[in-house]
């Protein structure tokens, strides 16, 4: 290709990444503006404006393809999750702690969203590495933003663990490059390699970076500590957006490797998923700190999402998209409730005893959110879990693979066990008597926001039109 053609190809491609360009440009603008206008409100407004502008620039699903010489593949899922990310990202400005954060905080949140957006479409090893690192570096910094003694501790632990994982992944990427001769995931042909032992090691190390981003076993150990001490609005973003993006990326890599023909890799992935569900659920059982409990619950949810990746075809992609979207909304609502409680230093379940005397209504809303996290009706948590289990059962009947059956059993058991820890919160609020005085926790504004957030969970269960529309748009994807 001559230079002129390459340049016109790049200019043509730029129109497809308007979303990411606005996020990066907007975050730099926010950083400059923060030097002039010190008030947090200004940076919040700019943050929301950038996200809304970015949302309007998402190309339509009719306008898909491969851009930048194959480095970015814009698919239906990219379109869907770009919209979801910008939509979910806006919600954090309603959190009660939003006013306390300096402008750099919103800059870093935009960086996390931009990195995740690149992960949605990256299919070049360099772009994948850059996108993962952009998200990781911003996350390391966001962990510190309470500026307490223990937040720095969690920050350095997260950084050392993430740095080691990404260094190993880079080594894995170099081996993949050496054996396949290309950096493009779509052009790699793993069947051609004569002696694939070293290539398989590289592949495992490289996949490790994605397991780290989506907090799957054995790369999950940073999750409870980080979630416990990081600012709650940052946790709400970190537990949703990079995780969904990481799963989309992981699926693209697994599809390129053709996981259903490489049996050893298939077994590794299934075992990782089952271990994740077990460890997340058992870990949550012994927690008394609400943030740590939801963190372990989020690890278990990662295992569920991985289950959706194992199902090929239409049911798999719909199960994944629904689960990811609803999980994102439920988590944002749950962390909003936690954030309100944290504002009054009520983070241990024992502190919540007898709260129903002053905060019966708010306690009821928390109960609905916990029910949604478990996956029981009448919330959207039930819709997505039911669909995922149906899809897993259908796929089991097609292939009669004991691994899939095991996965289904582990997932169902996890739902039963999760009753015990999630319902601990409403148990303490409504049934336990407190020894001391109970103060009121919420102000009217927070009750209104919490009501709206919770109604979304119920509304998506009653009229799942939005979910069905999404399913219509994406079910043609080669999954």
């Amino acid at each position: 290709m001559v230079l002129k053609d390459q340049l016109s190809h790049i200019i043509e491609s730029l129109s497809q990444v308007g979303f990411e360009m606005v996020l990066i440009g907007g975050s730099l603008l926010l950083l400059l503006l923060g030097l002039i206008a010190k008030r947090s409100l200004v940076s919040q407004i700019v943050y929301v404006l950038v996200l809304v502008l970015a949302m309007t620039l998402v190309p339509l699903p009719t306008d898909l393809g491969v851009w930048f010489g194959g480095a970015l593949a814009v698919q239906e899922l990219t379109w869907l999750f770009r919209l979801v990310f910008s939509f979910l990202g806006v919600w954090v400005v309603f959190y009660p702690t939003a006013n306390r954060h300096p402008f750099e905080y919103y800059f870093l949140l935009l960086a996390v969203i931009a990195g995740s957006a690149f992960m949605l479409s990256a299919q070049h090893l360099l772009v994948i590495y850059l996108a993962i690192e952009l998200t990781s570096f911003a996350s390391y910094l966001l962990t510190n933003f309470n500026f307490e003694k223990r937040s720095f501790e969690a920050g350095i632990k997260y950084l050392i663990f993430g740095g080691t994982a990404s260094a190993l992944a880079l080594y894995g990427a170099s081996l993949i490059y050496g054996f396949t001769g290309t950096l493009l995931v779509s052009e790699m042909d793993f069947a051609l390699v004569q002696n694939p032992a070293l290539l398989n090691v590289g592949l495992l190390l490289f996949i490790g970076a994605m397991l780290f981003k989506v907090s799957l076993v054995p790369f999950h150990i940073w999750v409870p500590t980080t979630y416990q001490v990081a600012p709650t609005s940052a946790v709400a973003i970190l537990s949703v957006i990079p995780k969904i993006a990481g799963f989309v990326l992981l699926h693209r890599v697994l599809l390129a490797v053709d996981v259903h023909t490489q049996y050893w890799l298939y077994v590794v992935i299934v075992a990782v998923g089952m271990a994740t569900i077990v460890i997340g659920t058992l870990g949550a059982l012994r927690q008394t700190n609400i943030k740590r409990m939801i963190a372990y619950g989020a690890i278990a949810h990662s295992g569920f999402l991985l289950g959706a990746l194992l199902i090929p075809g239409e049911t798999g992609v719909v199960a994944f998209a629904w689960y990811a979207l609803a999980y994102g909304i439920i988590n944002l609502v749950a962390f909003y409730m936690v954030s309100v409680l944290e504002d009054r230093q009520l983070l241990d379940v024992k502190d919540l005893a007898g709260l129903s005397r002053t905060e019966g209504y708010f306690g009821g809303l928390i109960t609905i959110v916990m029910v949604a996290l478990i996956g029981l009706p009448p919330t959207v948590g039930f819709t997505i879990k039911f669909y995922l289990f149906t899809a897993l059962w259908g796929w089991y009947q097609t292939v009669v693979d004991p691994w899939i059956m095991g996965y289904l059993v582990v997932a169902l058991m996890s739902v039963v066990f999760s009753l015990f820890f999630y319902l601990k919160v409403p148990y303490f609020i409504f049934l336990k008597e407190s020894d001391g005085d109970v103060q009121s926790v919420t102000n009217p504004g927070q009750r209104v926001i919490a009501t709206i957030f919770t109604l979304v969970l119920l509304w998506l269960f009653i009229s799942p039109d939005i979910l069905n529309n999404i399913a219509d748009n994406i079910k043609s994807i080669a999954w």
């Binding site: 390391y140 910094l141 500026f147 223990r150 740095g163 170099s174 490059y177 500590t225």
Partner: protein, 102 residues
């Protein structure tokens, strides 16, 4: 002049990776752990540059340049956090960071 075979580069890189991993796992000082991570990144860089000898487009060398820049950014973040840790804990020893429950 005969070219050095590719295998030699791979052996050196594998040695660097193992040495880096060993440092990360055994050293207690946070700075030493960062040095270990740096060694592992450089092992990957060496691999990338060695492999790009067979690639007329030199993709691997471009990749290595990017990863050097990213490593510098990562160390900047790590040192910023470590500075705060040293102020609060008066130590950069990772074993002293034990205020969080497990």
């Amino acid at each position: 002049m005969t070219a050095i075979p590719l295998t030699y580069y791979l052996v050196v890189a594998a040695f660097l990776l193992c040495a880096g991993l060993l440092i990360v796992l055994t050293k207690k000082n946070a700075i030493m752990v960062l040095i270990g991570i740096e060694l592992m990144l450089n092992a990957a860089n060496l691999n990338l540059v060695a492999f790009s000898r067979n690639d007329p487009q030199l993709n691997g060398q471009v990749f290595a340049i990017f990863s050097v820049v990213l490593a510098a950014a990562e160390v900047a973040i790590a040192l910023a956090i470590l500075l705060n840790i040293y102020r609060k804990y008066n130590s950069s020893d990772l074993d002293d960071l034990n205020t969080l429950e497990h």
